[in-house]
Amino acid sequence: MSFQRTQEKLKILADAAKYDVSCSSSGSKRANTNKGLGDATGMGICHSYTEDGRCVSLLKILLTNHCIFDCAYCVTRKSNDVKRAAFKVQEVVDLTLNFYRRNYIEGLFLSSGIFKSADYTMERLVAVAKKLRLEENFNGYIHLKSIPGASDELMREAGLYADRLSVNIEIPTEAGLKKLAPDKKREDFIKPMVKVKNEIIQYNAEKKIIKSTPKFAPAGQSTQMIIGASGENDFQIMQTSNHFYKSYNLKRVYYSGYVPISYDNRLPQIGSAVPMLRENRLYQTDWLMRFYGFDVSEILNEQHQNLDLDVDPKLSWALRNLHEFPVDVNTADQRMLARIPGLGMKSVFKIINARRFRKLNWEHLKKIGVALNRAQYFMVCDSNQFEKRDLTSEKIKGLILQNSTSKYQKMLSNQLSLFG
């Protein structure tokens, strides 16, 4: 491996891959066998963090940034004047193994620009994974991109070697996609996703009968949407997200605030702020859907199409549904506990365990780690001190905001003054 050439390529192809936000390395079940290298059984590990605070868990690179498509939002689009490069299969294998051996990474995240055709590209991605698995006995984590339009046979092969497969739908609505990526069709994204979903279902069924059935994408599928590039509201975004979770059994949907990279006038201009706060609120909503037992329509619906920026979505929901409160933490069921603003699932489980021993009061709850500045207005406990005034939603919101400082304060005041 020629050091200087590899160095040059790595700079170009890591830079081009960084807009893919997925970095998850958990959820696989690939154990080290026959004294090979690596193990992907446990939880994911973030080996480092970039200065923007994102986790570095996988060697995230493109195989090449040559691309035949011209999607406006993408930094590797055909018409963009950037340096192009391409890795050889062996170079990616060497980098992955050597980084892994030094405990820099959990594995490889390999994506690619589309050169020649979808299948031609997918074939090369599969070749890297295959070599790592079969020739190098590598059991670390491998995340491969499903190239839109790739054939079923290749997707099946990909799933045999990869832990996770993902295809980014990028634009939440079909209308937006048509505007920004006229050469791409929604069906092309869906096709490999459906194939992988069906293979996983089949694998799970066969494994029950034959234990040695070869693993198929044990960490499942994920996708990503760009936020703030094509004018969708939060309701549309989360509806799309919900649809993908439900219809394709996705493990994760990622939301990526659009980072302006182009002077194309269909898009926010270079220099405009990345919508990080909005991205954060969407992730919070995603978590409420997946772990807190909320239905997406409770948080976003026709009447309420955008998430509040100044308060989190659970608090926002609670303020619109004051009739459900206060909740008695000593008797309420898990579902209702999870709906109290300021209570995370960890606190919920601690409360359920702790209240078997004695009735809980404010002191207990504070020690357990409940964010009382928000929670106090929505709960009662074993104490005669509780919020007795009949406060309106506006009043509660005012009191909470007064007594807390958001880490997004600066952004918040900017964004409010823009529209206020």
């Binding site: 160095q7 790595l10 405990n103």
Partner: protein
Amino acid sequence: MQAKNLIYDGTFDGFLTTVFYVFEHKLKTVTIQNEFTVQQGLFSENEAIFTDEVKANRVWKGIKSKLSSNGSYQLYYAFLSEEVGVEDLLLGYIQYAFSQQKTVDKDYSHPSILKIAQIAKSVGREKHRMEAFVRFRLTKDDIYFASIEPDFNVLPLIEKHFKRRYANQKWVIYDIKRGYGLFYDLETVELINMDFPENFNFTKTDDAFFATQEFEFQKLWQDYFKATNIASRKNMKLHIRHVPKRYWKYLSEKQPN
């Protein structure tokens, strides 16, 4: 009865033997201290406890029957925190657990149980950090070497993880603060003590000790680390929260070029 100050050898078995002693002699006012950090109490009598594996195992078996598996590993984790006074806290916890009918380790409204759970959590976090922040460097004799200075004594907790993961390479993880390390020779993991040259600089990759290709891969990793950052999203506060500065000196990506 006079207060007793029991002194043990700092090992987990030693601590459990001491607990055995406390139960055996029905001691009421007692403190337990590690022999390396003994502080003489004014009115207490010192007594040295000799580690006895049989007694230790009996206590451990008893603890496991009184606590959930989560509870007993929390106890071990908390012990490895080496915090001053943690032995007394653990003794109180064990005594309380044995005095109750129910399994008590999920009683998060009990102050010392919550405290132990919190200490165990910090130790668990440090364990996880070491699994993440260990950086191996390839030496001239083909051993992947890493030096660490963890806040808590987590080497015993990370052994399995690294053994499973790096089954086909020789490696050493050395805890500089505590002066011992783990060495995997492709078969088993052993505890080792190493002598380093005086003024040995652990953060420097010296070409007298490290393989030539080591420098290239460190450079590639540093380049990758820079290229994968999105400058317009810079957030140093978050960065430092995830990678506290005290860990930087052993991270290859944080070394000055």
